[in-house]
């Protein structure tokens, strides 16, 4: 199974600043365009932060509702709007785990995309990603953050550092430690 080659890894949008300014002045159509441009990446981020697909959808939806309500707090040009969406998503995930006692088991969800794959490949990918998703939950919040932003969102370390308010070197070190921990988890999981 190949990774989705069409997934955008850059964090800028065409005329992002213009759309944000319009949205700030009350233009809901402009904000809807930002939604269209970012919803997949926000969903992907949330998907790997929670083990519940329904929660992933619900939280993704909430990210944009909250963003609309708090758009005044976002300063155009300070960082890409997507980075701000990720920040909102992270906070919502943290709140979700604070308030949520249980979650829907992974085998009850059916949210995997599959494009141009055989059924066998799709099953393999599903298991692989579910294992990965499960393994990510064993990491600290910061470790999850750096791995998802780096390998799934595809952000460069410079942007991740800015987003997490850390130095780039610290982000690199965090990524390596997180990868080692996750790989050990995956090894143990495969062995059992």
């Amino acid at each position: 199974m190949k990774a989705n080659q069409t997934a955008r890894t850059d964090s800028s949008l065409p005329d992002e600043a213009g759309l944000v300014r319009q949205a700030k002045s009350g233009d809901s159509e402009a904000f809807a365009e930002l939604y269209d441009a970012c919803v997949e990446r926000v969903y992907r981020y949330v998907y790997f932060r929670v083990t519940d697909d329904i929660a992933a959808e619900d939280l993704t939806s909430q990210v944009f509702l909250k963003a609309w309500e708090n758009l005044d707090r976002y300063q155009v040009g300070s960082s890409p709007i997507l980075a701000w969406f990720y920040t909102i998503a992270r906070n919502l995930v943290i709140d979700f785990y604070r308030t949520q006692k249980g979650s829907v088991p992974l085998d009850e969800v059916n949210a995997l995309p599959a494009k141009e794959q055989s059924p066998a490949e799709e099953v393999e990918l599903r298991f692989s990603l579910q294992a990965m998703r499960d393994g990510l939950q064993a990491l600290t919040d910061d470790q999850q953050q750096v791995l998802i932003l780096k390998y799934i969102a595809g952000l460069p370390n410079q942007n991740i550092a800015k987003l997490m308010n850390k130095r780039e070197g610290a982000v690199r070190a965090l990524q390596m430690r997180a990868l080692q921990t996750l790989s050990r988890y995956m090894e143990e999981k495969e062995m059992t």
Binding site: A23, S28, Y35, E57, S61, L129, M132, Y151, I152, L179
Partner: protein
């Protein structure tokens, strides 16, 4: 960083940039291959996560929900944009600054009783607070009061106000006339003590060497009876200070007769 961490970082960079794949990295570092393999494979597997996409149904559903939410909670349209807001703020700051500067400059010509006179006194307080040479500043302020007394000589109330200001400066200067200060100002001023043994109170000769130009009695308006000027506020030693010509505009012409009988 340990050797292993450096190698790991190099391999992760190579994978990210597509320079080499997992097998090529492992082949380059056979000694670390057993440790590197699971980590590099994990990184590669993580990238598969980019394949995850929300369903079209969810995207549409969430968009409708968002649209409804935006209609129910419309954002207030700002009457001007942030850029315009900044421009207006900057302009307001400039206008305010100009008003303060021109007002302050204009106030310097105010006389007792004028609307801007308090402003003038306020700027003098600021001037005195920030000046490195308070004595010289007080002398200049005293001269201002004398000029004011001359200018409002025909109005007893206004003259009294200027006189009170003049007395305040005198009091301050007296307090500053300690030996140390005198050493500093002696090069600038020259003090000639006046006899104080007289039973009559000393005339309020300005501390500064004022050139008094006597006016015909008939043309000079009577000065007010000054309210309770305590004897202590009148300098016991009334020096005649002659400011050297290096300080311009310091020798005013007093048109007023002696204020006290």
């Amino acid at each position: 960083m340990t050797d292993f961490e450096l190698i790991l970082e190099e391999c992760l960079d190579d994978l990210e940039q597509g320079v080499s794949n997992v097998d090529e990295c492992l082949a380059r570092h056979p000694n670390h291959a057993p440790q590197l393999r699971p980590i590099l494979l994990t990184a590669a597997r993580l990238e598969q996560g980019r394949a995850v996409q929300p369903s079209a149904a969810f995207k549409a559903r969430a968009r409708v929900k968002l649209t409804q939410h935006m209609q129910a909670h419309p954002r207030k349209r700002a009457w001007f944009s942030f850029t315009w807001g900044r421009l207006v703020t900057n302009l307001a700051t400039i206008v305010l600054t100009l008003l303060v500067v021109t007002g302050t400059a204009y106030a310097q010509g105010a006389l007792p009783g004028d609307t801007l006179y308090d402003w003038k006194l306020g700027t003098e307080r600021v001037w005195r607070a920030i000046t490195p040479d308070p004595v010289r500043t007080d002398i200049a302020i005293a001269n201002r009061r004398i000029d004011e007394m001359n200018a409002v000589a025909d109005d007893p109330l206004r003259t009294a106000e200027a006189w009170r200001g003049y007395q305040e400066v005198l009091t301050r200067l007296q307090a500053e006339l300690d030996p140390e200060t005198l050493k500093q100002i002696l090069p600038v001023i020259e003090i000639e003590p006046q006899p104080t043994e007289s039973s009559e109170p000393p005339s309020p000769t300005p501390l500064l060497n004022a050139t008094v130009t006597p006016q015909p009695e008939s043309t000079v308006a009577p000065l007010p009876t000054l309210p309770n000027i305590p004897a202590t506020s009148i300098p016991r030693i009334i020096p005649t200070v002659r400011i050297q010509p290096t300080i311009p505009n310091i020798i005013p012409t007093i048109k007023v007769p002696p204020l006290l009988p």
